[in-house]
Each structure stands twice: as structure tokens, then as C-alpha cells.
């Protein structure tokens, strides 16, 4: 190809930033945009008058709200009738509600991973998708928090979960992983919310300053807390953001570890394994990135953000999904190997039962393995990773697979435990299925509202990764503003003035 010279690499990268040049960083914002164009690209979505909203969005919101309504009705039905409306039984006391809980809380991991861990690792490409992923985290954790709350049976007594002094003189038991879970998930929800909202404050101020109508000016104005972009504020803001990232990094790893302790510290064959914490964390990130892709691929097209959430961002998510998926696949195989190698007959039986397609629910292991391990092997190939339709389809399958992973772990282990006399069967009811579907209604209602009225991209952060955000890229040149980054010392420009 004659055009493949180094001369036009800049142009090539400006159009397709998945093109690799080892000598330089690929641009993260395409189309040679100015700061103002980035602002408009994001704020125009939120500030468009309601009358001009696309019809498709209303259809999506109508479906989501209907499902949310169904979920609400079913919760009412559950509370009035009792947990017997579910397929939960003895021995499968943790049926769909806990499967759904672990599924949603897992999805909620990608947002904080992208915003915290990739921030600490200086992965600047995170700026395009972090807001998006953080919003996804909040809404997923809301769905996750719902299920254990109603699974306790008498949901009006859910406050017993917390360490609240009461007339029974009874404290929750901090030696139990179930209480660890209460602390871990509620801390995670709080910290994710803080991180999300704090990062949004400057962008809400941008929306406030660009809003033309009074209601938006007031609402965004209140939410922006009077942010003026003051550098004295930015200094503390950046420090607080860095500290939150540093705090959220061990937190995100701990939350799914703690969720896995619910299983790992019990005596049940199939649950009682030390591999669970890292395996659950990898699975959570895997499933979370799959959800990011499921949402980001259509959203970047519909919201016309292809030059900010570029192909390179999507490609990177695909790579993370492949890497974490390989860890998950490795964990599946290690579990089987360990069961065999342990020579513990109950553990061996649990896995024989799980792997036997003829056993009840035996098929579920193969659904999980196919979706989570086999399908993702396509992601080794760049053309497939960059085919948006194909990648979206794989991400959907991964979400299905990750739901089945929790199903396999929880249900197949509980159905047949140590003593054959206590074996049982599990048949989900229509309420189980409808609540799972309804939780997507809860998730998408909030997500669609956020996509329409919120700053879907971290505007201020995206600007910091553009070339003109750094000294030496402007039309003005000054001797005391050196272009070289890192070496510049702005503390003594031209000598301190003697005073």
C-alpha cells in the first residue's frame, strides 16, 4: 500500500486512532476538536429542548418504565404474600434473588474500576467512558441492593441488618460474612455515588452556564453548587479526586471479595474454596466491561459521540474483557482441577454433578462456559474487536454467561449438598423471571434519563487529554512557559522578585 508511509501517520491517526504508532500516543479525541466543540458535543445532548427528544428515546423509556412498574407491583405482591411466590425452597434458600444480587453488584464493578484504577494507572483513555461507566455502576448497585433487601423475607425489618441499638438488645454478628456484605455493599454504593457526583460538579457547572431555559439553569445551578472553575478549587478537587480513587481502588477489589466470602466461608461443597475472591473480582470486572460495551456501543452512535468515545476506547474495553475473561476461564478450570486433586469426595461429587449434562441443571454449566470462555476467544482478533455489531453481540452473551455463572455457583451447589436425603430441586416461578426482567427496567429507566439530561461524558476531564490543554500548544509563545512537560519549574520563572 503506497499510502502506508510515516508521513501521513498523523492524518491516519486523526481519522482512526486504533492505528498504532509506537513512537507516539494516539489521539484520544478525534476530528481535531477545539475545547468549545467538545463542550457542545456533550452539552447539546442534555440541553436539547424536551420537545426535540428523539422518538426512540421515548419508546425506550416507556418500555423501561413499564418494566419498572412491573417490578414495583411484584415487590408489593411479594410483600403481601410472602417469599413463597419465588421458587426458593429448602435446600435452595438462595434462589434467583441472590443470583440477581451478585450479577448486578458484579456489573457495578466496571465503573469504579474505570474511574479509580485506570485513573491511578494514568490510563487517559478512561476519560471518554468513565462518566458513563460510573452512572452504570450506580444504577447497577441500586438493582443489587434491592434483592437482598426483599430476600430477607420481612423486608420491613431489613433495618436489623444494620448495627442499630434495639429493644431486643441484639447486635448483628460481625463474625458473619453476611454482615461484612452489608458494610461492603453500602460503603461501595456511597463511595461510588460520591465519586460520580464529585466528578460531575464541573460538568454540571458547564451545563448551568450553557442552559438557555430557566428550569435547567436552576436545577443544574443547584447541583453544580456554585462551581466557578477556580483554580484554588480545582487544586483541592483534584486532590480529593485522587484520594477517592486511591480509596476506591482497594474498595472495588474488596467488595466482590466480600461477596465471595458469603460463599467461600461456608462449608458447602462447591462454595468452600479459596479461589473465590480473585475469581469473583475478575468475573465482576469482566461482566462490568461487557455491560459498558452493551451500553456504550449503541449510545456513542445515537448520541453522536463517536469522536469522543472512539473506536480505540471500545477496542480497549474489548481487550480488558478478553483479559479478565481469560482469568475467569482459568478459574473455572482451576476449580475443577482442585476438586479432583483435593481427593475430598464431597467436593468431587459437587463438580461431577455440575459437569454432568444429564444431572438436573447440568446444562447451565455449559451455557456459562460457552458464553464466558469460548465466545470471547474471538476477541483476540482486531478486526472482530472493532466490528461494533459483533462486539456488542459478544458483550450481550458475556452478560448472559455471567448471570449463569452465579446461577451455577449458587443453585447447583445448593440443590445437591453433602447428604442425599436433603437433596432437592429448584424450579423458578414466573415471579422469579419477571423480577429479573423488571430489574433491567429499574436500571434502564435511570440510565435513559441520565443519557438524556446528564453530562454523559466527563467534559472537563476529556479536555485535559487534548493536546492544547498543555503548555506549548497554543498560538501564544512565552519564554517563561516552557513547552516540555514535567521538567518545567513554574515556581521560579525569571527569578523570584525581591520584595
Amino acid at each position: 500500500m503506497a499510502t502506508l508511509t510515516t508521513d501521513n501517520l498523523d492524518e491516519r491517526q486523526a481519522l482512526d486512532n486504533t492505528w498504532e504508532d509506537p513512537a507516539k500516543r494516539a489521539p484520544l479525541v478525534l476530528g481535531d476538536k477545539s475545547f468549545g466543540e467538545v463542550t457542545s458535543a456533550v452539552t447539546d445532548i442534555a440541553l436539547k429542548p424536551v420537545k426535540q427528544t428523539s422518538f426512540g428515546w421515548f419508546v425506550g423509556l416507556a418500555i423501561a418504565i413499564s418494566l419498572l412498574g412491573m417490578l414495583g407491583t411484584l415487590i408489593l405482591y411479594l410483600l403481601l404474600t410472602g417469599v413463597g411466590v419465588w421458587g426458593n425452597n429448602q435446600p435452595v434458600a438462595w434462589g434467583f434473588p441472590i443470583v440477581n444480587f451478585v450479577f448486578w453488584v458484579g456489573i457495578g464493578h466496571a465503573g469504579t474500576l474505570i474511574s479509580a484504577i485506570l485513573f491511578l494507572f494514568r490510563q487517559n483513555w478512561r476519560t471518554g467512558i468513565n462518566r458513563f461507566a460510573e452512572a452504570m455502576t450506580i444504577f447497577a448497585v441500586m438493582c443489587a441492593g434491592l434483592f437482598p433487601g426483599i430476600h430477607v423475607g420481612r423486608a420491613w425489618l431489613a433495618y436489623w441488618l444494620g448495627p442499630i441499638p434495639n429493644q431486643m438488645a441484639m447486635w448483628p454478628n460481625p463474625r458473619s460474612p453476611l454482615l461484612w456484605d452489608v458494610f461492603a455493599v453500602s460503603t461501595y454504593a456511597t463511595v461510588s455515588m460520591l465519586f460520580w457526583y464529585m466528578g460531575m460538579i464541573p460538568d454540571l457547572a458547564t451545563l448551568r452556564d450553557r442552559a438557555k431555559d430557566r428550569p435547567r439553569q436552576i436545577i443544574y445551578g443547584l447541583l453544580a453548587l456554585g462551581w466557578t472553575g477556580s483554580n484554588r478549587h480545582w487544586q483541592r478537587f483534584e486532590k480529593a479526586y485522587m484520594l477517592l480513587a486511591a480509596l476506591a481502588t482497594p474498595l472495588v477489589l474488596s467488595v466482590h471479595s466480600v461477596v465471595s466470602f458469603d460463599f467461600a466461608t461456608s462449608q458447602l461443597p462447591g462454595w468452600h474454596t479459596t479461589i473465590f475472591p480473585p475469581y469473583f473480582v475478575a468475573g465482576a470486572i469482566f461482566g462490568g466491561f461487557a455491560m459498558v460495551l452493551v451500553l456504550a456501543i449503541p449510545a456513542r452512535k445515537w448520541l453522536k459521540l463517536e469522536q469522543i468515545i472512539t473506536k480505540r476506547h471500545i477496542d480497549n474495553c474489548g481487550k480488558v474483557m478478553l483479559a479478565t475473561g481469560m482469568i475467569v476461564g482459568y478459574a473455572y478450570i482451576t476449580e475443577i482441577f482442585t476438586a479432583w486433586y483435593s481427593a475430598a469426595s464431597f467436593e468431587q461429587f459437587a463438580f461431577k454433578n455440575r459437569l454432568n449434562p444429564a444431572s438436573p441443571l447440568g446444562w447451565s454449566f455449559y451455557v456459562m462456559f460457552f458464553c464466558n470462555v469460548v465466545v470471547i476467544q474471538f476477541l483476540w482478533f482486531k478486526p472482530l474487536r472493532q466490528n461494533m455489531m459483533f462486539l456488542w453481540f459478544i458483550a450481550v452473551l458475556v452478560n448472559v454467561g455471567m448471570w449463569f455463572e452465579r446461577f451455577v455457583i449458587i443453585i447447583t451447589s445448593l440443590v445437591r449438598d453433602n447428604v442425599p436425603s436433603s437433596w432437592g430441586a429448584f424450579v423458578p416461578t414466573w415471579v422469579d423471571y419477571a423480577m429479573l426482567v423488571g430489574s433491567f427496567g429499574l436500571f434502564f429507566t435511570f440510565f435513559l434519563l441520565f443519557c438524556r439530561f446528564g453530562p454523559v461524558v466527563a467534559i472537563a476531564e476529556v479536555k485535559t487529554v487534548m493536546p492544547q490543554a498543555h503548555a506549548g500548544h497554543s498560538k501564544h509563545k512565552y519564554d517563561d512557559v516552557p513547552a516540555s512537560e514535567g521538567t518545567a519549574d513554574y515556581r521560579v520563572p525569571g527569578g523570584e522578585e525581591s520584595e
Binding site: F35, T187, A205, G226, R236, E238
Partner: protein, 204 residues
């Protein structure tokens, strides 16, 4: 007004003068380099009550403004330690002590659960850890707002239409009228000389 302001003059004195100083002078800059250049110039002239307003955190601007590091990390450290002590203290109190004379809902008790000792160190780690993170994170957020004196919904600079671009694509140097080194027109001329694309004053 061109009269030199002395440091002893108070806001009350100024309010009584007919030609009181403006709340602030706003100088607008087009790009990062001219902002950094201007910030250093303003800093080196000894201004203290001034600020830069930018749409995103500008690298090196803290140094160019001569700002000192924030105290926030120390607050967060303190909160983290408090959280850790609260976590371990709560668990030890409820599970490993029986202090008499308290109302029964508040009393701790010694109870053996699954054969673990009263002081089950490893079992108490997760909650201690979570409370450490929770308090530290709340303090990082709350401390940032508190030290920045936010929320503060009214700000005279919002009166400027140009200032709306401070959250979009322009960079502002804002010198307060009550700065001891503020000299009215001379200060305005200085800012114009620093390649500001516009300079305006706002009243409170």
C-alpha cells in the same frame, strides 16, 4: 479609580466612598500558555486575593499561581484512622465486652459464635476496612467542599456574560478589588498587556 489602596483600609471604609472599588477585575485569556504567563506575572506582582478560573484543571497552574499544597490529605488521613478505630472498637465492644449499668439496647455482650474467640481478629478485618474507607471517602468529598466554601450559589462573577465561558473554553484571571496591591486602572492596563482578550470589572 486610580487611588492606591493601603492594606489598612477595610471593606467598610470602601463602601462609604462614592467611587468604591469593583468586586473584581476579570481578564479573559484564549489559551493555556497565555494564562500561565499571566498567572506568573500576577503572582510576581504580589497579588494575594486573586484566582484563575479554567474549564479544566490546568497542569502547572498551581505553581504558576504560587499556591501551597492543600491540607485535605491530612483530614482524610485523620478520618481514615477514626474509621478504623470506630470499626474495630464497635466490633470489640459489641462482641467482646459486658460493661454493666448501661441501657440494655446499648450493651455489648460476650457471645461465642461458631467457636470463634471474642476477639476474632481476622473476622473483624472486613468491617474495619470498610469503615476506614467510608469515613475517609466522605471526608475527601466533604473536606473538598468545606475548604472550597461550597456550596456557594451566589457569586458576583456570574454577572459577567463572558465568564460563562470559564466552564467552556476560556481562561480567566480574576483579581479582587480588595486586594492590597490592586490599583484600579493600572491593574487593568497590566492585565491588558498580558495578552488578555478582554478585561472587565464586576460590581458586587
Amino acid at each position: 479609580m486610580t487611588a492606591t489602596t493601603t492594606q489598612t483600609e477595610t471593606a467598610a471604609d470602601r463602601a462609604t466612598q462614592p467611587d468604591a472599588q469593583p468586586y473584581a477585575v476579570l481578564a479573559e485569556f484564549e489559551d493555556v500558555d497565555s494564562l500561565l504567563h499571566a498567572a506568573m506575572a500576577v503572582r510576581d506582582r504580589g497579588f494575594t486575593r486573586w484566582d484563575c478560573h479554567t474549564p479544566f484543571p490546568v497542569h502547572h497552574l498551581n505553581g504558576a499561581m504560587g499556591m501551597r499544597p492543600t491540607r485535605l490529605p491530612w483530614l482524610v488521613l485523620g478520618a481514615g484512622i477514626t474509621g478504623a478505630l470506630a470499626g474495630i472498637g464497635f466490633q470489640l465492644y459489641t462482641m467482646a465486652t459486658t460493661i454493666g449499668g448501661l441501657p440494655s439496647p446499648l450493651q455489648g455482650y460476650e457471645m461465642i459464635i461458631s467457636g470463634k474467640p471474642y476477639m476474632s481478629g481476622p473476622a473483624y478485618v472486613p468491617i474495619t476496612f470498610e469503615l476506614t474507607i467510608l469515613l475517609a471517602a466522605l471526608t475527601a468529598f466533604g473536606g473538598m467542599l468545606l475548604l472550597n466554601r461550597l456550596p456557594w450559589l451566589y457569586n458576583p462573577v456570574f454577572k459577567s456574560q463572558r465568564f460563562k465561558r470559564a466552564t467552556d473554553d476560556r481562561f480567566f484571571v480574576v483579581i479582587r478589588g480588595d486586594d492590597p496591591v490592586y490599583e484600579g486602572d493600572k491593574t487593568i492596563e497590566m492585565l491588558k498587556g498580558l495578552d488578555a482578550v478582554s478585561v472587565e470589572t464586576v460590581e458586587d
